[in-house]
């Protein structure tokens, strides 16, 4: 490869990084502007918007509500996702390809269709719109991501681990809890954080399945529809910081696992 194309390619990469970061940094900057009016130029700076966010009991309760939903749905997704992954990574059986495609299905259904389908099905199941409905929808939607991560991890596990445990007298249940589960731990942490983020940031399912109490993205959406305010910037900035911290944590957990398996 010639030096010229190399320079051109790195410029394209740099431009893409700028493209990805500029909108978010603009938003963060606006959260510190000392004026109700979003836009340039910025004459003076303030931390007032953050103070307001932390005093706003509505925002705080919505935040707690979203965290509860994220944790609840993540626990369900992890349990079911790991279970399905262990089944799919095990020995072959009739219909495995079909079960695998059905497992992936919720991840590929376009957002609005997924939300509508869940809304209709919730009524069939008798779940009223509200916290339980949102937890359920998020849990189902996030299962495929857990399965993909766990199946990838299981494929790197030598089968003789289990055989050794069985030879030493462990029954299948003990072999699973004492050998497979510890081996899966980093993958489960990574998948779990991923689910937390997906649930916490999800809008379309929370919007169509939520009751009167909004989740954080739904609250931001309705605030945006009634007009922009730097308070939304402050809320969004807090969300970005939380997301980045959790995301880097998940990435480190997954990377450590990839490094260890080599």
């Amino acid at each position: 490869m010639t030096g010229k194309t190399r320079i051109l390619m790195s410029l394209i990469y740099a431009a893409f990084v700028v493209y990805v970061f500029v909108p978010l940094s603009m938003m963060v900057v606006m959260g510190f502007k000392d004026s109700k009016f979003i836009g340039f130029p910025i004459k003076s700076w303030t931390l007032d918007w953050y103070g307001r966010v932390f005093q706003d009991t509505e925002v705080m309760s919505v935040f707690g509500y979203s965290v509860l939903i994220a944790i609840g749905s993540t626990l369900v997704s992890l349990l079911i996702g790991t279970w399905i992954a262990v089944l799919l990574a095990g020995r072959k059986f009739f219909g495995r390809a079909l079960i695998f495609s059905l497992t992936i299905l919720p991840a590929v259904v376009p957002g609005i269709i997924s939300a509508i389908a869940f809304r209709i099905y919730a009524r069939l199941l008798g779940i009223e719109p509200g916290m339980m409905a949102v937890i359920w929808a998020h849990a189902v939607h996030n299962v495929p991501f857990v399965v993909l991560v766990i199946v990838a991890r299981l494929s790197t596990m030598p089968t003789n681990y289990i055989e050794a445990a069985r030879d030493l007298g462990a029954d299948p249940l003990v072999a699973f809890t004492r050998v497979t589960l510890p081996y899966l731990r980093p993958a489960m942490i990574g998948a779990g954080i991923f689910c937390l983020l997906l649930s916490f940031d999800d809008f379309v399912r929370s919007y169509f399945l939520g009751g009167y109490q909004p989740t954080l993205p739904v609250l931001i959406f309705s605030k945006l529809r009634s007009g922009m305010s730097p308070e939304i910037n402050a809320i969004s900035t807090i969300v970005i910081v939380l997301t980045a911290v959790l995301g880097v944590w998940a990435e480190r957990s997954m990377r450590r696992m990839n490094g260890a398996s080599r």
Binding site: M1, M9, S10, I12, Y13, F16, V20, F21, V22, P23, L24, M26, M27, M30, I38, G39, F40, P41, I80, L87, G90, I99, T103, L105, V108, P110, G111, I112, I113, S114, A115, I116, A117, R119, I120, Y121, R123, L124, V140, V143, Y161, L168, G169, A170, D171, P172, L173, V174, R178, V179, D201, D202, F203, V204, P217, I220, V239, T243, G247, V248
Partner: protein, 339 residues
């Protein structure tokens, strides 16, 4: 990690031996682990003997919950949506009879009010998928081929962090960027290109910009993993045989990355057809997409749910058909390249 598991295996072997010889927990200072104590109990032994008696019973235990979950929770909602789309009324009133009907589907073909948003969604999704591919391919190529392997993760992580931030927050960021007092207009003004701000917002441009911003990661990851797999020696071999940079790319690298192109485009296309919040916030009356049309049926009382369900089915079916055709086309393209 490996030594960890081995330790645990050692422990579990010790504990099961201990429980078999019947003197569990009697060694001085020798704590028997939890599972060792449990597996020593007679009731547990009986339960395990019963549960794992045969291969078939073991499989049933393992597969039961996943089968039920996948069928009722993953497939169920889609099937129920399909069923409701054929009902004349839903939810069913007490004591009323329901009839199967095709009228909700016919409504779509009769009213041009609904056809326009549908066609717009399809053309937008198609064009935006292509635009995302063109924008992201060089980035993925640079990451996979020009960055040192040990730095690749860091370079990728830099791009991943912003994409973990949710749809709404990122859409809001685009609103600020493109607004009349946003950074783009400010930059153009200070450079002297314009006197008055360009109204980017609430147009097809702002929606497109926003959707590409939301989807590019889903293009980047499949492309990167496909390109990363291609050995550098292939290009070197082509170069030894006299191929120039462009020929090497067109005849070697590009065909080998078709798999990534296919899965990236499929993902991005399916996502683009389903966006709701981004078009609502970034678009105007002239950019109504089909997702907004569908959502409209669910804001009012339940009696229009079947229409909404039918429209959602139409959208799903159309996007799946286009995706399948595209996959077939890509398959043919790559098999021709191999010959």
């Amino acid at each position: 990690m490996i030594t960890d598991v081995q330790n645990q295996q050692k422990q579990s072997s010790v504990s099961s031996l201990a429980s078999e010889s019947g003197n569990a927990g009697q060694g001085p200072g020798d704590r028997i682990p939890f599972w060792g104590r449990v597996s020593g109990r007679r009731g547990y032994q009986a339960l395990v003997d019963f549960l794992f008696a045969s291969e078939r019973r073991q499989f049933a235990l393992l597969a039961g919950i996943p089968f039920i979950w996948v069928l009722t929770q993953h497939l169920g909602p889609v099937l129920q949506m399909l069923y409701v789309s054929f009902l004349d009324a839903y939810p069913v009133a007490v004591g009323a009879q329901t009839h199967l009907t095709l009228k909700h589907y016919l409504l779509f073909f009769e009213e041009s009010v609904y056809r326009m948003p549908f066609l717009r969604t399809m053309t937008y999704s198609f064009a935006l998928t292509f635009a995302t591919l063109v924008i992201v391919y060089p980035v993925a190529y640079f990451l996979a081929r020009h960055v040192k392997r040990q730095n690749q993760l860091a370079f990728l992580l830099l791009l991943l962090i912003p994409f973990w931030v949710g749809e709404i927050v990122r859409t809001f960021a685009i609103m600020i960027l493109l607004g009349n007092n946003g950074a783009v207009n400010l930059l153009l003004k200070s450079l002297g290109f314009i006197d008055r701000p360009i109204p980017f917002m609430y147009t097809g441009f702002s929606v497109s910009f926003g959707v590409i911003y939301l989807t590019s990661l889903y293009m980047l990851l499949p492309l990167y993993s496909a390109l990363e797999k291609i050995p550098a020696s292939y290009s070197e071999a082509a170069s030894d045989l006299g191929a120039g940079a462009w020929t090497r790319f067109r005849r070697v690298t590009l065909p080998l990355s078709y798999e990534g192109v296919a899965s990236g485009c499929t993902l991005v296309f399916l996502m683009s057809t389903g966006f709701y919040a981004a078009p609502v916030l970034l678009g105007g009356p002239s950019t109504t997409v089909f997702a907004e049309t569908i959502a409209g049926f669910f804001h009012v009382a339940g009696d229009r749910w079947p229409t909404g369900a039918a429209f959602a089915c139409i959208l799903f079916l159309a996007s799946l058909t286009i995706t399948a055709l595209f996959m077939k086309f890509m398959g043919r393209l790559s098999s021709r390249g191999r010959r």
